[in-house]
C-alpha cells in the first residue's frame, strides 16, 4: 500500500533556528514529491521534486529528494514566526492523486 510518513510530527523552535523536516515514502510508479505549507486553510504549494540530488530553493526554504532511499527533506533556515504552519509532504504516482503524509506542525517562537 502506498504511504507517506513525515517526521517529526511537531517541532518547536526559536526565531533564527534552522529546521529540517523529513518525508519518507513508498509509492508505486513514483513520479513526483510535493511540499505544501498549510496555515489556516488551503495547502499552499512550496516545491515539486522529481529528480534525485537536485536541490530546489526558494529564499530560506530548500528541499532535496533521494529516490534511492525514498525520502525528501525540507530545510528552513533563519526561521521566522511567519514560518509557523503545518508542512505537508505528498507523493504522486502515475495517476493523478496525491498521497499525503500526516504533516509536521512547526511552531516558531519569537
Amino acid at each position: 500500500e502506498d504511504k507517506v510518513v513525515q517526521s517529526p510530527l511537531s517541532l518547536v523552535v526559536h526565531e533564527g533556528d534552522t529546521v529540517t523536516l523529513n518525508c519518507s515514502y513508498e509509492v508505486t510508479n513514483f513520479r513526483s514529491l510535493l511540499w505544501y505549507k498549510q496555515e489556516k486553510k488551503a495547502p499552499t504549494f512550496l516545491f515539486m521534486l522529481t529528480s534525485s540530488g537536485i536541490e530546489k530553493k526558494s529564499g530560506r526554504l530548500s528541499s532535496i529528494l533521494d529516490k534511492k532511499e525514498l525520502f525528501s527533506i525540507l530545510n528552513i533556515t533563519a526561521t521566522q514566526t511567519g514560518d509557523s504552519a503545518v508542512y505537508l509532504c505528498a507523493v504522486r504516482g502515475n495517476t493523478g492523486k496525491l498521497i499525503f503524509g500526516q504533516g509536521t506542525t512547526l511552531q516558531v517562537k519569537p
Partner: protein, 115 residues
C-alpha cells in the same frame, strides 16, 4: 495570480441532508480533484475528474458522493445523504496536466459540519 476558489467557506447541515460543495478551478486547467481532511487527520484523496469523467476514486468515494462539471467553470461535489463522519474540510484542486509532474493547486476549502 489565478487561484482555485470554493464556496461556501462553511456549511452546517443536518444528518441525512444533501449538500453541494462548489469549486471554480483555475481557468486553463483540465484536471480536477476533491480531497478531504478530517480534523486532526491526513489530507485524503477522494476523486479525480477529467474530460467530464471520473478518472480515479478512493474507497471513501462511495455511492453517496458524486461530482459534476455542470458548466465550463464550476466543479461540484455532492453528498447525497450526509453522515456525521462526513464532517471535514473539503478541498478542491486543479492541475493543467496529468503528467505526474504537474503541480496541483488547492482552493481554500469548505468546512462541512454535519449535526
Amino acid at each position: 495570480e489565478p487561484e482555485v476558489t470554493q464556496t461556501p467557506s462553511h456549511q452546517v447541515t443536518q444528518m441525512g441532508q444533501e449538500v453541494i460543495l462548489r469549486c471554480v478551478p483555475i481557468s486553463n486547467h483540465l484536471y480536477f480533484y476533491w480531497y478531504r481532511q478530517i480534523l486532526g487527520q491526513k489530507v485524503e484523496f477522494l476523486v479525480s475528474f477529467y474530460n467530464n469523467e471520473i478518472s480515479e476514486k478512493s474507497e471513501i468515494f462511495d455511492d453517496q458522493f458524486s461530482v459534476e462539471r455542470p458548466d465550463g467553470s464550476n466543479f461540484t461535489l455532492k453528498i447525497r445523504s450526509t453522515k456525521l463522519e462526513d464532517s471535514a474540510m473539503y478541498f478542491c484542486a486543479s492541475s493543467s496536466r496529468l503528467a505526474g509532474t504537474e503541480t496541483q493547486y488547492f482552493g481554500p476549502g469548505t468546512r462541512l459540519l454535519v449535526l
